[in-house]
Structures are given as C-alpha cells and as structure tokens.
Amino acid sequence: MNANGSPLLLVEGLKKYYPVRGGVFAAKIGDVRAVDGVSFSVQEGETFGLVGESGCGKSTLGRTIMRLEEPTAGRVFFEGKDLAHASKTELFQLRRDVQAIFQDPYSSLNPRMTVGEIVREPLLVHNIGTKPEQIEKVRALFETVGLTGEMINRYPHEFSGGQRQRIGIARALALDPKLVIADEPVSALDVSVRSQVLNLMVKLQRELDLTYIFISHDLSVVEHVSDSIAIMYLGRIVEIGEADTVFAKPAHPYTRALMEAIPVADPDVHHQSVPVKGEAPSPVSPPPGCPFHPRCPYAIPACREAIPPLEPVAPKNGARREHLAACIRKHEI
C-alpha cells in the first residue's frame, strides 16, 4: 500500500464483450462475455495471482486493464487515474508504468530485430535518454535478467526459450514500470528452466519494488509466487483472497475442483474420483444463475436463479485482504 493507503490498481465492474455476428447482414446476434463485471484491487509490491482455465477471461482481463482491448464497461484506476477513460496522451504516459510479459517467448520477439534493439525500443518510443545512454541501459538490463551485455547484437533465434523469456522481461523493465502484468510467463518453458525464470521474477520484484499481476492456469506456480489470488470462471471472479487462505480453505466448489484435479507428483497420492464432470460452457450463452452450477456437485435449485455475488467467507479479523466467494452454499459445503 502506498502512503495514502489506496491500492496501486483498482478495477471496478470491468466488462469486455465481443459481438457475435451472424445472418445475411452480419447483424449482432449476441455477445461473448469474456470479462463480465470484474472488480478487485492490487496493493503496491504484491503479486496478485489470476487463475482459471482456458476461456475463463483471465488473459482478456489482463489485456483490458492495459487498454490493449477497449473495455465495454467499468473503470480501471492506476494510482488514482482512470486508465479506462484516459486520453491517448495520458495513456502513453501510463504505459510507462504498466508493462507486460507474454507467454510465448518464440512469437513475442520480432525475429528481424536484434535482441538489443528489441529491449531498447521502448526507450526510443518514449524518447528517454541519448543513444549511448540507451545502449548502456540495455546492457544493464541484460545483466539484471541474468544475460550478458555482449549478447545484445544477436537475434532472437539464437536464444533458448528460457533466455528469450529473460529478454521479454528485460524489455518489460526498460521503462522502470511499477506494475508488470505477466500472462502465463512460464507456461511454455520446461520444468528446469521454469524455476529459473520464476526465481528471477521474484528477485526482480524484491530489488525493483515491482507489483505483479501473475496470470496462469498452473495453481502450483501461482501458489508459490502470489500474495493474493483470484479464481476466474466464465468471465467472473468466483473467489478472491490472500493466497495462503484460499489455498488452505478454498470456499468455492470450482476452486476446490481445480485444486483436486491437479495431479500430484507423488505416487502415493491418488485421485479416487473425478472432481467435476463436463467442460466449461460457452461464454456466448452462459447458463442462468451461478455459471458453475451445471458442473457443480453441490448445486441446488436455488443456484439456477441468480448469479451469486462475491461475499465474505469469514470475518476479516485483521487479514490483509478479505476472503470472498461467489457461492450461496459456501458456508454449508
């Protein structure tokens, strides 16, 4: 939390719908509700884990926060300034403070530019420093992420997946951002390389006072790095809280199902049954009521009637962040 106690990032009722067109005149016949009314806050210096399965809207949420996608509704405050309604010039300035790391280190780096040029580009765009100063900064960034300054004249294809992800991180850090949105930053990497990149991200957070939004489908990775966590299902947050609390006492049946479904690297632990049946429904035609009810083992008729709001699971009792879940039976199950 910063001096006046307000969060670094505040997201309020954020929605991102994509029109579905059909028929002879390609008229709008519906919406893909990729993000459907999401609110949360991120405190300075923390890692906020955003978890969910494919199609739950976690990546769209990350992109909409950065205004890489125009929001359909809602507001995004960064240090009190509304990103969702900022003008182009304001946005240009805000972009310095909010940077992204992407999943695929093979497609997010331009193959025709040297890696030094790639990392230097944000400095050029924002017109920061003289050319020698920029090159000096790029060299320093390479050292920061565990590469060497001599590598700056090489091309992306000369690097391994893990090294490319380090280059992606160096590029994100070029403008000294405050918030880094990392979308599946280690999902494409092998296990042994994955832990190197995770260690680097944690080290950089400590040394540079970074705040992360860490988007991932991998709960074990999220648990390791996150201070807070939100679970998404079909465009909505179904559970949110301090990471330790949510992992210790998951309140939403979907969170529980996710945790139970992860294969444990221990042959003595065996899943006796399948945690949930079926697959997530299409965000074009979400089911009525709680979006999870068709798959939920605890569903009752009342679950079909209204979308359950996010409500406290337990009294806050001095916790840093309140534990909330969107389930009408959260106290019974």
Binding site: T47, E53, S54, S160, D190, V191, S192, V193, R194, S195, Q196, L198, N199, V202, Q205, H217, L219, S220, V221, E223, H224, V225, D227, A243, D244, A257, L258, E260, A261, I262, P263, V264, A265, D266, P267, D268, V269, H270, H271, S273, V274, P275, V276, K277, G278, E279, A280
Partner: protein, 332 residues
C-alpha cells in the same frame, strides 16, 4: 510376458548441419496390462521414440538407424510397408496431444469411426453406428447419437480429445501409445481423460506407453517410469522408486524444481543450471555432466570419470541408472 520390447533403438534426422541422433540407443519393455511412463523435457527424444513404434517418423528427414522393436514377437522395424496396417490401429493405437492429428476435418465423426470398424471387422453401417455410439458414450460424450453426425470443428477441445480416444479404442488395441494426450487440456478435463484411460485399461487389460513432461501425470498414471535426457534413458524404475528414491541426479533435479507446498513462498526454487548438449555432436562422456549438481559436489579426482566415460544404463538397487555415481538412499 513383455508385450513390447524395444532394443537399442536409434533414430536420426538429417539436418543441414549433419545427422542429429534424437534417440540414441533406447531400450525398454512393457508388460501386458502395465503402464510405462516415458518422461523428459522438450527435445529429449520421448515423442520420437513413441512415433517410431508405429513407424510414423517422417522420412525424410527422419531415419531409423538401428535397433529392434518387438511387438508380441513381431519385429516392427522388419515389416514391409504394406504389412504395417496389420499392426497400426489394430493391435497398437496412438493418441496425440493435438486431436486433429488423427481426426479428418472433412468427414463426420460417424464416417471416421465407421471406416475403422468397416476396415477392421467388416461391420455393416448399422452395426458400426451402434458400436460408435456406444464407444462415444463410454468416453463421456453427452448425447452421442447426435454427436456422431457432427464434424470435428464443431466439438470443443476436450470433446475432440475424447473422440480421438474413442477412435483409438474402437479396435480394442493391446497397446495404447499416448503422446502428451492431456497437455492441451484444462486440469478438470485432464482429470476426466486420465480417469477414462485408466478405466478402459482396467477393463481391456491393454498396455499403455504414456509420454509426458508432467511429473504429476506420471505419478497418477504409471507403474514404471523411464526418464529420458538428450536422447537416452538415464533412469528406469518402478514408480515409487522414481519419486522416492531417484538414482539419477537429473531425475532428482527435475523433481526438486517443481514448486511444492514445502517450499516457502517466493523462496528460490532449485534449478538445473545450463542447457542440454547439442545432439548433432553429443559429448563422448556423460551428457548431463556439465549441469550435474552431484558431480560438482564430488572431489576432483572422482569428477574425472564424468568427463571421460559415457555411463551405460545398469542395475543399481531396484532401478536401472546411467550414472557413474548414482544417488544413495542417504542422498534422497
């Protein structure tokens, strides 16, 4: 009795830079009804090994350089091209990470499943439709009769995967080769598919070769595990030994680098430093030596062996391990 026996398999790819030996002397056996996990990181040769069994390695650039693949007494590598269909899709079936590898986008599910049944069992259209519907129901496709008339693109990722598995199982294969079959799926769907493979195996007594990079999936599915590194098997053992008494420093390193409850939040995770050696010109000594944490802990005099002799897979306690200094019980 061993259903599948692979002996000193070598597979290479002709590249501009020369011959790349992706699989370099791999041997293992799978018993009737058992599941062997073949694990390792990208490029270790696990998928090439698997595709060699059905002789599906694209040629060129791929070439089988040597070895033998014995399936129920038949050396698959000695079969003539025209004899291959005897094995493929009948006694041995394969499922892939990308279901569109085995599904044809221009035919309905019914047409594709029916074709298999007509070719194998000479089934009539009616009989094939009935059998296909049953099989789709078995793999958990809702409303199977309607699904039969759909095209693959109309199905979700999980459903495509189920249809591919249904097709692979139509002929009741004795060996199922599963190459990362759940890697592209969500965890809740993965749990369903893994359960499905287990149940069908229990019912039909099929053997399974399960290729994956996910140690969690291995622990869930396999009876035995072969760990591959840089084209070789470095450790093979019963599942409990692989996880609780790893003998090769690479296996141990892989398991340690997984984030676990026991790791303090944001604490440094153990890593395996360095990179896999090039398979164009692999070193004539231990391929893991450069990255090996165990070697680094040894006195210099002992380390010399790691840099001069190529370790062979040999028995050590209850495992097979290719290391000059396998891990003792006290090092677990």
């Amino acid at each position: 009795m061993a259903l599948l026996e692979i002996d000193k398999l070598r597979v290479g790819f002709d590249t501009e830079a020369g011959l790349l030996v992706a699989v370099d002397g791999v041997s293992f056996t799978i018993e009737q009804g058992k599941t062997l996990g073949l694990v390792g990181e990208s490029g270790c040769g696990k998928s090439v090994t698997a595709t060699s069994i059905l002789r599906l390695v694209p040629n060129p650039p791929g070439r089988i350089l040597g070895g033998a693949i014995n399936f129920d007494g038949i050396d698959i590598l000695k079969l003539k091209r025209e004899e291959l269909p005897k094995i493929r899709g009948k006694d041995v079936a394969m499922i892939f990470q990308d279901p569109m590898t085995s599904l044809n986008p221009v035919f309905t599910v019914e047409k594709q499943m029916g074709e298999v049944l007509k070719l194998r069992f000479g089934m009539s259209r009616e009989a094939a439709r009935k059998r296909s519907t049953e099989m789709l129901a078995t793999v958990g496709i809702p409303d199977p009769a309607t699904r039969l008339t759909t095209y693959p693109h109309e199905l979700s990722g999980g459903q495509k995967q189920r249809v591919m598995i249904a097709m692979a199982l139509l002929t009741e294969p004795r060996l199922l080769i599963a190459d990362e079959p759940t890697t592209a799926l969500d965890v809740t769907v993965q749990a369903q598919i893994l359960n499905l493979i287990r149940e069908l195996q229990k019912r039909t007594g099929a053997s399974v070769l399960f290729i994956t990079h996910d140690m969690g999936v291995v622990a869930e599915m396999c009876d035995e595990v072969a760990v591959m590194y840089a084209g070789r098997i470095v450790e093979e053992a019963p599942i409990g030994d692989t996880f609780k008494r790893s003998r090769h420093p690479y296996t141990k390193g892989l398991l340690r680098s997984l984030p676990q409850k026991s790791h303090a939040k944001k604490a440094d995770l153990p890593t395996i430093e360095g990179v896999v050696p090039s398979l164009l010109k692999p070193p004539p000594y231990c391929r893991f030596a450069d990255r090996c944490w165990k070697r680094k802990s040894l006195p210099e005099a002992l380390q010399k062996k790691c840099y001069t002799e190529d370790p062979q897979l040999r028995p050590f306690k209850t495992s097979l391990v290719a290391c000059h200094y396998p891990l003792e019980d006290t090092e677990q």
